[in-house]
Symmetry: C2
Subunit: 217 residues, 2 copies
């Protein structure tokens, strides 16, 4: 089953702050591997392209304080960031749609390091049902409602063709899933109280193309 | 070689607007397949969870106007969105790091539909150099500077382990790459005039975990 947060009820952080924290974590983990013991927000800022004052403010949400002239203790900072971000707890997830994108997420060993345990895949294609990918079993989507309780998963990763996204969303929410990680370009609608996180690499492509066109002028 | 935009010099759009446009496009493409001819911003709004007024404002950047009481012509809207977003032009890209993430991007047939042509991969691992993945050749990173001119690629996709991200960034920018699509959790620094687009699925995970913790309380 999923583990609850042991962190103080720290309220909802703004998404931009939350999105910056994993970048700090990545850099701090590097420092730790290199044997560095202390780091200041100014030093982090020099390396990762974020203002030092913004870094200090972001970290203050976590009740982490650096020592004057010494900075933050690197090991403590890494640990607190991982804990705060939920990366040290196990979050069980199932993936719906194990085509090329879904299968590559199943194969991404990185996700486990960030606290995501994919415990099962679901698909409608008979040739995929009953197989396993990297040790994760693939079940028939028709059995979703029956199996989801036993799997102890609160997160559903949607990796189906976009025309099926809304139907799948309705189906898995009805079965008790409370968080949807949507990899399709479709914006899906879910009832209040359900968390929807969109990850559209095509939206990022659109931003990159636009910036590239404008830089050329 | 890459094709230039034929669109009027439409200035830099805000990233949130640009990020919403592919969602409209996905929905409009669905409508077109279903044979729908006209759609209003109110109808789009009902289906994709964005305010109708915001949709109308976003689309006004593209000089698309709907007809009173009829709405937007679906085929025209799809075409203009694809063109504006750069999805109808070919953008040549190379991918640096063809490990599990890099290889899955090479296998994602969806990217070609969004105007991205991955023409080569680069890696430092001898067992990968000289192979090809889905028909795309993998070259030695040591030959990057020598080969990049022939490949006609302006975009470098960074899919290396995070501790190598900054070094790779420096190397490919020095070789003439003008846009970096960074899939590592590291925030990389690039000179002014270089486009950097971060796509960190782990940052999205952090936001989702936080929302999920707070919904439970």
């Amino acid at each position: 089953m999923e583990q609850k947060s042991t962190f103080p009820a720290s309220a909802i952080l703004p998404a931009p702050t939350l999105s910056r924290l994993p970048g700090y974590l990545a850099f701090v983990s590097l420092l730790k591997e290199e044997g560095v013991e202390y780091v200041s927000s100014t030093q982090i800022s020099k390396e990762i392209n974020v203002d030092a004052s913004m870094i200090a403010k972001d970290l203050s949400f976590l009740n982490i304080k650096g020592k004057t002239r010494i900075g933050y203790d690197v090991a403590t900072l890494e640990h607190k960031l991982q804990e705060f971000l939920g990366f040290r707890r196990g979050h069980n997830a199932v993936i719906i749609g194990v085509g090329s994108l879904g299968a590559s997420l199943l194969q991404d060993s990185g996700l486990a390091n960030y606290g995501l345990r994919i415990v099962a895949g679901f698909d409608v294609r008979p040739e995929l049902v009953g197989t396993s990918i990297c040790g994760v079993p693939v079940y028939d989507m028709a059995d979703f409602g029956r199996l989801i309780g036993q799997l102890g998963a609160g997160i559903g990763i949607i990796a189906v063709p976009m025309e099926m996204a809304q139907r799948v969303c309705d189906e898995i929410v009805a079965a008790g899933i409370r968080a949807l990680w949507n990899f399709t370009p479709m914006r899906i609608k879910a009832p209040a109280g359900i968390v929807v996180q969109d990850t559209s690499i095509y939206a990022d492509l659109a931003v990159m193309y636009n910036r590239l066109d404008n830089i050329r002028m």
